[in-house]
Amino acid sequence: MQFAFDSMLGLGLLACAAGVFWSRDLFRSVVMFIAFGLLLALTWVRLEAPDLALAEAAIGAGLTGVLLLDAIGHLRQHKEHSPRNHWLLPLLCCIALALLLILSLNARPEASISLPELVAESLPESGVEHPITAVLLNFRSYDTLLEIAVLLVAAVVAMALNDGLAATARTSAEQSSRDPVLAGFTSRLAPVILLIAVYVLWAGSYMPGGAFQGGAILAAGLVLLKLADFHIERYAESLLRLGLALGFLVFLAVATSVMIGGRPFLTYPEAFAGQFILFIEAVLTFSIGLILFSLFNQSPGQEVPHDN
């Protein structure tokens, strides 16, 4: 029965992807893409990667879908120019690529290095029990540092593009004209979202969870507040800017301060590795949440008045 489930899931993924690409109407493609994100979360579950399922659910359903829907709302017409006419040659190359890939997946040498065993061996010294968090925050923490820099650069460029705009008045609904049901629902749901984000962050050290998933959930909560016309960004414009860089600042500070103690870069002191990781993850969650929210909030074309 597992085989039936997997094959259906795989074919469902292909059907969703086909739907995204062959739909003439862009809106339908975006909705198909949201469905694709959900099926992908199920796929990660079947590949024994609950962390990725969590991340795909939080970022795929929570954020990318919202960003795309927001972009669709901004575009006036959905009709697009007909695709390029010469399609035979690209079709053949893509089919060839797919076949080559599948063939190569099959014939591969026996791996001489088994990283999972190495991870299992040095897991006790990493300070956390969950192997993925250990890899992310300790063994390959330099990757994570650069990745947070990537997120920060995206936010900086978004701010640069927005500052360039004369601070156009953001015509959005005032306090009074909020949708009552949505406002009520959001005001009750927001604390739950915050609680769950902290829970996911805390769970990261011993079971699937962690900074990114927690940050994405936090961002989705902030986006929900913004959509329900709770204008949170008005309150602390400058604090928002500090919040963006705070996670990266703390991570870099910790990474370099250990060097003063004579240890190599990004080496947590043995006894406190767990506490260091949790502290960094907490600040990272806060910063990732703010960065992802500001990426949603800074996107141009907000001036379109709501016609509720």
């Binding site: 259906m8 469902g12 909705v31 959900l38 024994e48």
Partner: protein
């Protein structure tokens, strides 16, 4: 017992994939978003069943997160996406 959970999961997946038809055919955007909403709920159900079938309690957290965030896409559609042109298929 686990075979039972797998059949339930497979059944729910069939209903989920059936929802794709509505996304494809759905005359107006609201129908498509309805299907997406149903996807979210069915996804939560499948995750809960898989948590039992695969004995990984972590999946309950995934279900929890998905339950939370499925509504964000719907709210984004209502508040921001206003696709004027609805082409009959």
């Amino acid at each position: 017992m686990t075979a039972f959970w797998w059949t339930v999961a497979a059944l729910l997946l069939v209903t989920l994939l059936a929802g794709l038809i509505r996304i494809w055919r759905g005359p107006n955007p609201a129908d498509r978003m309805l299907a997406a909403q149903l996807f979210g709920t069915t996804g939560v159900a499948i995750l809960l069943v898989l948590a039992q079938a695969m004995q990984t309690p972590a999946l309950n957290d995934v279900a929890l997160v998905l339950a939370l965030l499925a509504v964000v896409a719907m709210v984004a559609f209502v508040r921001r996406a206003r696709p004027e042109t609805e082409e009959p298929e």
